[in-house]
Symmetry: C2
Subunit: 328 residues, 2 copies
């Protein structure tokens, strides 16, 4: 199966490394980063591309663009891993729309298009008889979408609660363990690369809320936007609040919650007993889903990282191949 | 999609109830229990069958057998939910073999055939271009097989550790919480229906070992049998041992472990820190898989129960429909 890839940052390179190291039966035929591109219908030598990117900062030839890659048509699946733009979703939204329109499957880690335009994109995919998959947009390496769609198929999912943001979880873990203040813990998270220079999206709960919107629209068809999420971040949390929780053998975590029947979507710091299954450490993510037949199912794992995101992307690609390409 | 069902105990009835209550697009056309059967190519009225079973103990007409159901041919998927026989796997092995040979998909909760004859059954399924699925054989409602095969596809799974037996986990939880002796906790588990009259398979670790054999053969192709598992049960555990663990802020759980590269399969009581993710309570199951890309992923949920097992069976049926029937 032939892969074209848009975006060649750490996630894109993680996917390229996995495809070149493992015998997955996948061939990469086109790649574009923000300043260059390379297209070869016979398959690109990925080690060359990785080496060029490392030494020059470019994956290919200047002047070859994402649009050129999409229009080349030399691929079965477009892997869209450009940075998320949560306001307009562009340019990723345009890329994905073009590829689906051309009858190509799309796999993305990009939260913007899925959060903002899920219904329209899915209708387009259905009309072209192709798949749009987005496991990597929520909880990184945890196969949550697969579990909700496939592993728990036939169940009614009545509620979902989880830790969706590793940056916040790291900050809260450090505030609890070491008695650090919020700003000290944030500084440490920045130094370790867990928080960005502008941590607003993470610490104010917006990143977690975007993931709730993706789940609400894709799993339950609630047709909601970010405005429908009741959001409180962790930036107002004091060490006193954590110490109070500690006195009760509890701790505080930033929890995202969906109760679909009541259309409740909420992100807020919650006091949880220390032995609660959502009290995970450091940058981990964790999600508990409540169902009518399976009862409660909890999944815990890494919510970010280039290899972790690559894991989700590759699982989506192989699912499309095994269930939709080889069988048709 | 048409379902024929062999076995109409609590799991079979759980499936029937779910199919009749939910709009899943499934039709049950044949059912047999150990003493009777019913076949109707136009679809059976499942509420009638459930009522008859409740009042008479029979699902259908005496004299109609499992063999009659298999030979009727009025089904796309055989759901095989008769009791496990871990020694010969019969009669389930014969039923499954006949249905696969006849070109029918099979979904089973029966550990015997999958533990004893995985390779032969899978080869038969491949030769007939049908699916054999068995999610319900390991960890009940937890979509573990789906996660390993699909959600984490592309990963190398380097190790797996888990709590696979809810009866043992309940006994250990009660010994820890209440200071009960092993025999007191076992008695309580029996009274609550968590342990069978003869609890040997559970407490001696054999049930957990059978699940490791299923995973070892299906996920890694290790071609092992129960004799290859190093098994220690919980029946020798004393309250003193648990008290010693408690002094270290730890507890004891019966852990099944697979390290595929070293062909290590082991079931044994282990001392674990109380905040370890495999320290779950009561009858819960939990599994952590270690992978090369996704890192560690942990899944926690109910390992037994009729609705929980029905959840896994129905997910398998719907997966076959969505990925193998509708697309071919």
């Amino acid at each position: 199966m032939r892969i074209a890839m848009l975006g060649f940052g750490s996630v894109g390179r993680g996917i390229a490394e996995a495809v070149s190291e493992k015998d997955l039966g996948l061939s990469i035929t086109a790649v574009a980063d923000s300043r260059s591109g390379i297209i070869d219908a016979d398959g690109i030598d990925i080690r060359d591309v990785l080496e060029r990117k490392r030494t020059t900062g470019l994956c290919g030839t200047p002047g070859i663009t994402a649009e050129d890659v999409i229009e080349s048509g030399v691929y079965d699946v477009l892997v869209e891993v450009t940075p998320t733009n949560a306001d307009s979703a562009e340019p990723a939204l345009g890329y994905i729309t073009c590829a689906l329109t051309a009858g190509r499957h799309v796999v993305t880690s990009n939260k913007g298009p899925v959060a903002l335009r899920y219904d329209a994109l899915m209708q387009l995919a259905v009309s072209r008889n192709v798949q749009l998959r987005y496991e990597a947009t929520v909880c990184g390496a945890i196969p949550l979408i697969q579990a909700l769609e496939i592993g728990l198929a036939g169940n009614t999912i009545t509620a979902l609660n989880g830790v969706f943001n590793g940056t916040c979880n790291y900050i809260l873990t450090r505030m609890t363990d070491e008695g650090l203040s919020y700003s000290q813990a944030l500084l440490e998270a920045r130094e370790l690369g867990y928080a960005e220079a502008d941590p607003t999206y993470d610490v104010k709960g917006i990143d977690a809320a975007i993931k709730l919107v993706i789940l609400a629209n894709s799993i339950w068809g609630l047709n909601v936007s970010l405005d429908d999420v009741d959001i409180t971040g962790i930036d107002g949390l004091t060490t006193d609040a954590l110490a109070l929780a500690e006195d009760l053998d509890c701790t505080i975590r930033l929890i995202g919650e969906i109760i679909p029947e009541k259309r409740i979507l909420k992100v807020s710091p919650r006091v949880l007993s220390k032995d609660h299954s959502l009290v995970v450490r450091d940058t981990l993510n964790a999600v508990t889903v409540e169902t009518d037949m399976a009862g409660e199912i909890t999944l815990i794992g890494r919510g970010a990282g280039s290899r972790e995101t690559a894991s989700a992307i590759i699982a989506d690609i192989l699912f499309i191949r095994d269930c939709y390409v080889e069988r048709t």
